[in-house]
Symmetry: C2
Subunit: 350 residues, 2 copies
């Protein structure tokens, strides 16, 4: 995993690209004009680990709400703009930290030039956010979708560069995972800018997390990507949770505990699934990156439990408790949860 | 995605490797000695799309149960054997379609030779299932884990080849995703055999599905892998569901409907998350691979709804219904679910 070199950008206090950690983004799902609801959701997002928040700006009133929203939160705010360049100008005036424009629907060259001039004046980065669902049918209709998406972004990048603007981030999102991967691969070597990754409209968490993990995961493994947003039909904190699980799986970020647990099989003599669920629930209160293993039998149990910070390797109706690779006790099945959590809590408090 | 060339094998009626579709496996979690419970779970697994089922054989009675279990199910059965080569011999005698042996704990060369002779006689393939958690600490202690796993498998492969046995499948599972990927990459070009992919002890579904999707997804995208097993601390049908979602996301298999749904944002004027959840619930009854889109607004809505077999693109309190790319009606928010499902059901019945 050698990371692609990208020009770092500042979105408010957060650096995206260069050597900065992969940044986790999400988007509010409240009505932007409902200022208390939007502020509240941004605060929830900050607590769950979101680092940059995007807010839809469908109309003038939403743009004007950004002034108060921004004053009441500490996360950097990106205004998501479609169709009307006036809204981009209004969002910049409201003090947003970044803009996302959709080149598929953003008006003519002159209108875009006005937005770019205003962003340049304020040093506000712009994401060129191409989306398969809003690519004009007339744009290179015979080319494959991934190529059309990459070329649409390249055209917009050239326009911005011609105007002396280089605070650029790019995304190329499709629902189809291979299309998304191809589009990013096509553009990765052609531009020096930071890339924002996502699989668009990935659906509900049960399926959308899988689809997002594969698309975003494959690109990150190729060293492509500086910030990610998981799109799920769910509360935005679920998007942030999935984003961190993707980054944790690849060893790119740490956040909270990690539970290693065996799938159970005909060999298990303890109810491992119920135990793992109970441990997982208790781990929600733990913030340190502690690795916990809940293992059902003697095949892989001692190995995994030894490798974790705290672990259980179960046998017939009982389990051995491991701390940092050493057995510290053996307890009966009914005491496993408490014994394991006592070790976890003691590590968490250190 | 050019697929690695592998020697196809037959596990009962199912071909693994070569040009065969990527095969979905799971494992029973019942006590193998409880024959009715195990038969029942294998039947559930068959209904949910599992193609090969593995069964743990911890003792003699479990091995003997395989005779009756096998007579009562139609899925091919692989016996999972650790520690005791007698159990492998007993499982072969019971008529299993495949064996999984763990070279980390399988006894001496002579014992393994006896198992191999018995498998050869019956034309039963053997998976060499290396697992990070059960790799002997004394095996190449200074080498990196991925290399140790690959070398352990290579050693076992050579032993089998020396004995004239070539019905081999290999797996190299770790909890750590980059380690798992490296291990498979190391062995992929060195052997001609089919590869069974998995990320071991991946945990509960919410996190384990993500971890599995990244590990298995990256390898499949590199063309590596002939059969997959998702290991989750959950009912085995959830493992099968996740396996198919991984394969569907990469366009490698089709199974059941696919729901494209937008994450919702401050632009949505319909409760998209609730609608998507309701549609998803109704889609459980649909077996055909129908693509359904539930989209919140005019930005990407029409594009995605047009691209799906059936879709909704919502506006202010209402939505346009799309069938195969054409708008077939516009209905108010309270009628969206029924109107969409009427189109889905009519496609499903065709």
């Amino acid at each position: 995993m050698t990371r692609r070199t990208s020009k770092p950008l500042r979105i408010g206090k957060v650096t995206v690209g260069g050597d900065a950690p992969i940044v986790v983004q999400s988007m509010t799902k409240t009505d932007t004009r409902d200022i208390p609801a939007t502020v509240n959701q941004i605060k929830e997002l900050e607590i769950c680990g979101c680092e940059i928040v995007r807010v839809a700006v469908p109309d003038r009133q939403a743009a004007e709400s950004l002034v108060t929203i921004r004053q009441n939160v500490s996360l950097p705010i990106i205004a998501d703009i479609h169709f009307d360049y006036h809204l981009a100008l209004a969002a910049l005036k409201a003090g947003v930290d970044g803009l996302r424009l959709n080149p598929g629907n953003m008006g003519d060259r002159e209108q875009i030039a006005r937005v770019i001039a205003a962003a340049k004046e304020r040093d506000v980065p712009i994401r060129i956010g191409v989306n398969a669902g809003s690519l004009p049918a007339s744009f290179q209709p015979k080319a494959p979708l991934a190529e059309r998406m990459a070329n649409m972004a390249l055209e917009q990048i050239r326009l911005m560069e011609d105007l002396g603007f280089h605070l650029i981030k790019v995304s190329l999102k499709a629902f189809d995972v291979p299309t998304t991967i191809q589009a990013y691969q096509m553009i990765a070597d052609k531009i020096p800018y930071a890339l924002h990754l996502g699989v668009t409209e990935a659906g509900l968490p049960r399926t959308g997390a899988i689809r997002s993990a594969i698309g975003i995961g494959i690109l990150l493994y190729q060293g492509i990507g500086d910030t990610i947003r998981v799109s799920l039909s769910a509360h935005p904190c679920e998007e942030v949770f999935v984003a961190y699980e993707i980054l944790k799986s690849l060893g790119l970020r740490q956040r909270g505990p990690t539970l290693v647990s065996c799938p159970s099989c005909g060999r298990a003599e303890v109810d491992i699934i119920t135990l793992a669920e109970a441990v997982s629930k208790r781990l929600k209160k733990i913030s340190k990156p502690i690795k916990v293993a809940v293992m059902g039998c003697v095949v892989n149990g001692p190995g995994e439990a030894e490798d974790a910070d705290v672990g259980i390797a179960c046998g017939k109706g009982k389990g051995a408790i491991f701390r940092k690779g050493k057995v510290v006790g053996t307890v009966s099945e009914d005491k496993l949860l408490e014994a394991l959590m006592a070790e976890v809590n003691s590590l968490d408090k250190r």
